[in-house]
């Protein structure tokens, strides 16, 4: 176990490091940010002076070396715009991001697993067909479109829910439902197909032959077996939910990491972008790490090895 943890931790470090390196160089290709922060009447000489202060005039490898040196100590520099700690700014958005991602995940799992199980169990029934059709539609809807539609319906037309902003549980409903839609569709389809797969297995026949009632057959036996691939998928998608909710965060003005990252990207506020990448890559790796442990938990074949 310790071996596993050490090995995986090393992997996490390598992945995060490589991700940062890639983004560092990629983002420098997108241009010099200095002039964007200055008033438009700044002369070229003055822009140059600021570049020097901000360190953008130095060779790229020097900047990279410095970045790595500082990053190792947990210092991602200051926001070019506000001068605050970049990492601090990203971390401050993290609770909102977690809140949105986990409630979306929660909603998705709550709906998709029973739905997928039921659809698989009642294969080819009307229910199954409707469920499958719904998931296909769910995967085909662009999320901002759905988001605007929901705002239009629930916030403007019926005044039931707030249209945007962060804060309370009620603010969370529309964005998390919007974000969850795609996952619900994806998880439902996946649950259904893995369940179908499992239900064909010999050990299910065995259980049936021992007189296991249908309910416990599906819920107890098949579901636990299906959980293994489902956990992997959820772990993969949680990363997307955490960092990829940009569109939903923009539509619903949700103060999360994705929106900060997009704005920083547009503002060319590099330190924030890098700190954001670091956090997202790190969380993603951790989530996968946890998924692996969970995976072992439900899959005895791996656990014992």
């Amino acid at each position: 176990m310790l071996d596993f943890v050490v090995k995986r931790s090393l992997q996490v470090i390598i992945v995060v490091f490589l991700a940062l390196t890639a983004v560092f160089f990629l983002i420098r290709l997108s241009g010099d940010p200095t002039a964007l922060f200055l008033p438009p009447d700044t002369s070229r000489e003055q822009i140059e002076e600021y570049r020097e202060i901000l360190g953008f005039n130095r060779p790229l490898y020097v900047q990279y070396g410095e970045f790595v040196g500082n990053a190792i100590q947990g210092d991602f520099g200051q926001s070019l715009r506000s001068g605050e700690s970049a990492l601090g700014l990203v971390l401050a958005r993290l609770p909102a991001t977690f809140q949105l991602a986990f409630s979306a995940l929660f909603i998705s799992l709550l709906i998709s697993i029973p739905l997928g199980v039921l659809a698989a169990y009642k294969r080819n029934s009307i229910f199954d067909r409707i469920a499958v059709a719904a998931t296909v539609v769910g995967q085909a809807i662009p999320s901002f479109w759905l988001g605007l539609l929901l705002i239009y319906t629930f916030a403007v037309s019926f005044s039931l829910l707030p249209s945007s902003g962060g804060g309370s549980i009620v603010h969370l409903i529309l964005p998390s439902v919007t974000l969850a839609t795609y996952s619900i569709a994806r998880f439902t389809r996946f649950t259904r197909s893995t369940m179908l797969d499992v239900l064909r297995k010999d050990y299910i026949r065995t259980a049936k032959a021992s007189g296991a009632p249908t309910g416990s057959l599906v819920l107890k036996y098949a579901l636990k077996n299906s959980l293994i691939p489902i956990i992997t998928l959820v772990a993969l998608d949680l990363g997307t939910l955490l960092g990829g909710a940009v569109v939903v965060e923009m539509v619903f003005a949700w103060p999360g990491v994705g929106r900060l990252l997009l704005q920083s990207l547009l503002n060319r506020d590099f330190p924030i972008v890098l700190a954001g990448v670091f956090i997202i890559a790190f969380i993603y790796s951790i989530v996968n790490f946890i998924a692996d442990i969970l995976y072992a938990y439900v899959n005895p074949q791996i656990r014992v090895k």
Partner: protein
């Protein structure tokens, strides 16, 4: 792509079924949703090829006196936009952009991802470790953010969008193909080939590659919809194919500001995307169910 869906007989693999043109249509007709998907795709391709001829108006023609006409007025079936251009015509001509983005991205990402997957899965060893680390690095970064970062660097425009999407999308092919190759490598017929001294390149191209065609086709067809929707999303965030070129993504993006005044501007392109994604997904699902029911993305 649909007319070429003939798939080689899969040697040595029992779970996959072959599909030849003759029974392709027979099977398709027997499946309602697959058939609907196919019809949507077929129409889409026709529209994207002959869009300019089909469109009732020039999609770029602006007439300020006729701006923001609601649907079914003055000969504009779906109304006009903020510059008085015909919405229906723009949707029809815009189909090409979506089709190109979907197909070309799948082609680029699929080719690259497949090559990486094959190399990784077949040769194993250090190259596999290196490539899979790269895949991990990229996967540790959400697709849409990656596409945004790349778009911010490469700039906008159809070509750059495709590049960004492909950079964001190849990993999934690499991963899936790698695991397929790993599975095929373990099959008895490959062992038999190795045992009888067949050349490596021969094994790779004559035995492994044909077995990959089915998963590639299935995965590719399912990814197309993802790319089309992703393009719309990055258009929404301001990076997609830029106006004045008619594309569904930027129509939606421009139209969203009119959600309260001119609902048709955001409704119809959205429906177009939805129907397209629906069609592609239905067809992809059917392909999977027919060719390889156990295929998992």
């Amino acid at each position: 792509m649909t007319t070429k869906s003939e798939v080689n007989v899969v040697k040595g693999s029992t779970r996959r079924k072959s599909l030849r043109i003759t029974n392709f249509f027979k099977k398709l007709l027997g499946n309602w949703s697959g058939f609907v998907g196919f019809v949507i795709i077929f129409l889409l391709i026709i529209i994207s090829i002959f869009g300019k001829q089909i469109a009732p108006y020039d999609p770029m023609y602006t007439d300020f006196t006729k701006k923001l006409l609601p649907p079914l007025t003055e000969g504009h079936l779906l109304g006009t936009d903020q510059l008085g251009r015909d919405v229906l015509s723009r949707i029809i001509v815009g189909a090409r952009v979506s089709v190109i983005i979907g197909l070309v991205t799948v082609l680029v990402a699929g080719t690259f991802g497949t090559i990486v997957g094959i190399i990784s899965g077949y040769f194993r060893g250090w190259i596999d470790v290196v490539l899979m680390r790269i895949v991990d690095v990229q996967l540790s970064f959400p697709f849409i953010l990656l596409v945004l970062v790349v778009s911010a660097i490469t700039g906008t425009g159809l070509r750059n969008i495709i590049i960004s999407l492909a950079i964001g999308g190849w990993v999934i092919f690499a991963r899936v193909i790698r695991s397929e190759v790993l599975a095929i490598r373990e099959k008895e017929f490959i062992t038999a080939c190795v045992a009888t001294g067949v050349k490596r390149s021969h094994i790779l191209f004559k035995h492994i590659l044909p077995n990959l065609i089915t998963p590639i086709i299935i995965l590719g067809s399912l990814q197309i919809a993802t790319y089309i929707i992703a393009e719309a999303s990055i258009s929404f965030l301001g990076f997609g194919v830029q106006p004045p070129a008619p594309a569904w993504g930027n129509m939606l993006s421009e139209g969203k500001d009119y959600i309260f005044s001119s609902w048709w501007l955001i409704t119809f392109p959205g429906i177009a995307i939805l129907i397209t994604a629906l069609g592609v997904n239905l067809f992809g699902d059917w392909l999977r169910d027919t060719l390889d029911p156990e295929f998992v993305e």
